[in-house]
């Protein structure tokens, strides 16, 4: 069971999951490698944002806003550095920092184990993530970026669908409670 009622605080207490040693590092590295590698052979794979999904998953599972936002920052800056000179360091970093914080904060308050909840949350996080990137580009980099496109909506759905299965796989990396 992931949920338990904490009598001392009188609040709903949600279990914090711990992972096997190196699981987070391995998952982050694997996601970054795939993100840089897959579109070369399967161009449609560029729709996926695996580093974002990893950030969301560990944010929701660890349920600690501080570690969530730091993980998001590291993942985002690494993604920036793999994205080539057109993407300045910090573009994805800022967006994923915020997503890491939000995911951890929401994970501490809601049940995020159900596939439907994960699907819906991933759509929301994806849209927020793209919105943050658009804000950063417009305000800080003076680059015109469209707020919403049909492609963004499709990509949000695809990422959410992939997230459901990816999160089920990542659940296996948890330490048994």
């Amino acid at each position: 069971m992931n949920q338990a009622f904490d009598l001392r605080s009188g609040e709903l207490h949600i279990e914090v999951h711990k992972f096997r040693a190196g699981a987070i590092v391995f998952a982050v590295a694997f996601a970054l490698v795939l993100q840089a590698f897959l579109p070369v052979y399967f161009p449609k794979a560029a729709t996926l944002d695996l580093p974002l999904l990893i950030t969301i998953y560990f944010g929701l599972s660890r349920r600690n806003p501080s570690t969530g936002l730091l993980l998001g920052m590291v993942v985002g800056i690494l993604q920036d550095s793999l994205s080539g000179p057109t993407v300045p360091l910090g573009l994805y970093g800022i967006a994923k920092t915020v997503i890491g914080y939000l995911a951890s904060s929401i994970g501490a308050r809601l049940d995020t184990e159900h596939p439907a909840a994960r699907f819906a949350l991933t759509i929301g996080f994806y849209v927020v993530h793209q919105g943050l990137i658009a804000i950063t580009q417009r305000l800080l980099l003076s680059q015109p970026e469209r707020w919403f496109t049909l492609h963004l909506g499709t990509a949000a759905l695809v990422n959410a669908l992939v997230a459901v299965f990816l999160f089920m796989f990542l659940d296996r990396l948890r330490k048994p409670s």
Partner: protein, 310 residues
């Protein structure tokens, strides 16, 4: 240090402050990059250096898997594709052969046309070879022109390369030509260099024979042989062939002549439509040719008594 400085902040707001600090740091990082036009090269080098070995391994793996799949499993349509490609290949080969044939025909016709234009005042008609002799003993061909086109018996047949033979039968739309290589064929000829005259005849073989050249006369291998005009069929100085072999004989040399015209692959020819003496012009003299211009006085005849077949 950042966490120490946050010691005074209530715990539930610490993460919010941390978020603000981290985002602010990254905004500053962005600003620095824009201001200095720097791209954070060091971080990029480290990241790419760490990731590229995995990418290389992945690329190798995917290439291996893809090759295996394409060469061993994804072969459903290979047989059908192969059949289709074979059919296309056969069709293209046929087209190439047809085009090559047409190109060769165009080349031949161009040569004929040029020859005809050079001798526009000489009455002659072009004809296509439509058949050969039915037996191997005689060397004859059939042309697609006959008496209706003015062709008569004993008219000369030539190509731009040289003498072919003479008409032996003329039908309404067809005529039969006895080739120079036939054993009953002959043409009045002479050597270009020495101007020695002697008939050249066929033996039924690819090479011709030049008869009645005494052993004392000087004849060189490779010397050109042209028509002498003495047979009253062919104009003077038409190429007959070149001397291929010379052997001493008794009382005459045994001289073999390679025909100038390719008598084994004739497709288009000209029939000279007159029995009167003619003067044909040549485009350009052949190398080593010492042939006098048409109409020049001929050299002495070495074998005055030598018979010539008409």
């Amino acid at each position: 240090m950042l966490l120490d400085s946050m010691a005074g902040i209530p715990s539930r707001h610490r993460s919010l402050f941390l978020l603000g600090g981290v985002v602010l740091l990254q905004v500053l990082l962005l600003a620095v990059q824009i201001k200095r036009d720097s791209q954070g090269r060091l971080i990029r080098v480290w990241t790419v250096g760490a990731v590229s070995p995995f990418e290389r391994a992945g690329a190798h793996g995917i290439s291996h898997v893809r090759d295996t799949w394409n060469h061993y499993f994804a072969l459903q349509n290979t047989s059908r594709d192969n059949e289709q490609l074979k059919r296309e290949n056969d069709s293209l080969k046929l087209q190439i052969t047809q085009l090559q044939s047409k190109a060769a025909e165009a080349d031949r016709l161009a040569v004929l046309l040029k020859f005809r234009q050079t001798n526009v005042d000489v009455p002659m008609v072009s004809a296509r070879v439509i058949g050969g002799s039915a037996d191997s003993a005689s060397q004859t061909i059939y042309l697609d022109r006959g008496s209706r086109d003015g062709i008569r018996q004993n008219m000369g047949v030539i190509t731009p390369d040289g003498v072919v033979g003479k008409v032996i039968e003329s039908y309404r739309d067809t005529s039969q030509v006895l080739l120079l290589t036939d054993k009953d064929s002959g043409v009045g000829a002479m050597l270009v260099d020495s101007r020695i005259q002697s008939p050249v005849g066929g033996t039924g073989e690819p090479l011709l024979v030049m008869k009645y050249i005494p052993n004392d006369d000087d004849v060189n291998s490779g010397e050109r042989v042209v028509t002498s005009g003495m047979d009253r069929i062919f104009p003077r100085d038409l190429p007959v062939g070149t001397i291929a072999e010379i052997k001493p004989g008794n009382p005459f040399k045994q001289i073999r002549v390679r025909p100038a015209a390719n008598l084994e692959r004739l497709e288009e020819v000209f029939v000279l439509l007159t029995m009167k003496p003619l003067e044909l012009k040549r485009d350009s003299p052949a190398p080593n040719s010492t042939t006098p211009s048409a109409g020049a006085p001929s050299a002495s005849v070495s074998s005055p008594g030598a018979p010539e077949k008409p």
